[in-house]
């Protein structure tokens, strides 16, 4: 922990619907789309580019009239009674994510991209000499295409417009490590799994080579409830995230997932076993 960011955050919870905010929905990429994009790049032998937007939400334009008090420590000495009439979005505002995704969406559409009908954060541009595909996850962009020159030009434009950082090669996206080589693309969640194991106190456990006990039948009434049901749910969530790469775990995780409502001892045991298996495959 060496670097700190300081942000001015608006108290969005004080906003009132219909007065200073309207629509707040903003689309987001699902992992399936990302996987498809990576698979496409792998089969075509394309290179995955990544870009990152600095202060993404500050770019969004506000449609609504929002007033905010002057920030503490930076109050205008000559007129302390005035308030800030916001023109651009700020972190914390209810409509900030939408304002940002609209902004980048509009920009991409004016530069010739089309949104996919299946996923609104997937943009495709077909030109005479190539295709460019962009996936947007809030402020992270994955770009692929068959024409390196076009991608280079696009990156230059985006950098000018939105103050983006070009991370060039995609190597880390939503805690999935991506390794690109001429032989293919590898996806890893090793660091994520390790972090989760130590978070749940299972880093020192004994590895096991099978994720589920044989012929095990779990039912909803097996005895006393697990003490910390919230923790159980959290672990299930993390395990589901691991199925992005380890599809073979889907069945075992599906089993423990069924008892989220009333987790009991046998369910916890089954879950521990999955965690031990994860240590085995690391």
């Amino acid at each position: 922990m060496s670097k700190y960011k300081t942000r001015l955050v608006a108290k969005g919870y004080a906003q009132t619907y219909g007065i200073d905010y309207e629509e707040t929905y903003s689309p987001i990429t699902i992992m399936t789309t990302v996987r498809v994009i990576i698979a496409m790049a792998a089969t075509k032998g394309w290179y995955l580019h990544q870009m990152d937007v600095k202060n993404a939400f500050l770019h969004g334009d506000l449609q609504e009239e929002v007033y905010m008090e002057q920030p503490l420590g930076y109050v205008d000495q000559t007129c302390p009674n005035l308030v800030c009439r916001l023109k651009k979005a700020l972190y914390g505002l209810k409509q900030a994510p939408k304002a940002w995704s609209d902004k980048i969406g509009q920009y991409l559409i004016t530069s010739g991209f089309q949104t996919s009908n299946a996923n609104f954060s997937l943009y495709v541009k077909k030109a005479d000499h190539g295709i460019i595909i962009i996936v947007i996850y809030v402020d992270d962009l994955i770009i692929i295409g068959d024409n390196d020159e076009e991608i280079f030009d696009l990156k230059k434009l985006l950098k000018q417009k939105f103050e983006m950082k070009d991370l060039e090669k995609l190597c880390y996206f939503l805690s999935v490590e991506v390794i690109q080589s001429p032989k293919g693309i590898w996806l890893l969640q090793k660091q994520y799994a390790l972090n989760k194991l130590s978070e749940y106190g299972m880093i020192g456990c004994k590895p096991i080579s099978i994720p589920l006990e044989q012929n095990v039948k779990l039912s909803a009434d097996e005895g006393d409830l697990v003490e910390d049901t919230t923790m159980y749910k959290r672990i299930v969530g993390s395990l589901i995230y691991i199925t992005i790469i380890r599809l073979d775990l889907s069945y075992a995780i599906g089993m423990v997932n069924q008892f989220m409502q009333t987790p009991q001892k046998p369910h916890l045991d089954a879950m521990r076993r999955i965690l031990r298996y994860i240590k085995h495959i690391l």
Binding site: R7, L8, A10, K11, A14, L58, L82, L86, K87
Partner: protein, 46 residues
């Protein structure tokens, strides 16, 4: 903080106006967060 303020200024995020009678102004605060794990390391001061 100065850096963030400079970004906001450069961005023309807001203009100072007198608050219209029928409107309410929302508050704001400075939040400092670690670049690494943002969820766990959060200090808030008002």
């Amino acid at each position: 903080m100065d850096e963030e303020m400079a970004t906001l200024d450069a961005n023309a995020t807001w203009e100072l106006v007198a608050l219209p009678k029928d409107k309410k102004a929302i508050g704001c605060k400075w939040v400092q967060m670690g670049a690494q794990s943002q969820a766990q390391c959060k200090w808030i001061y008002e």
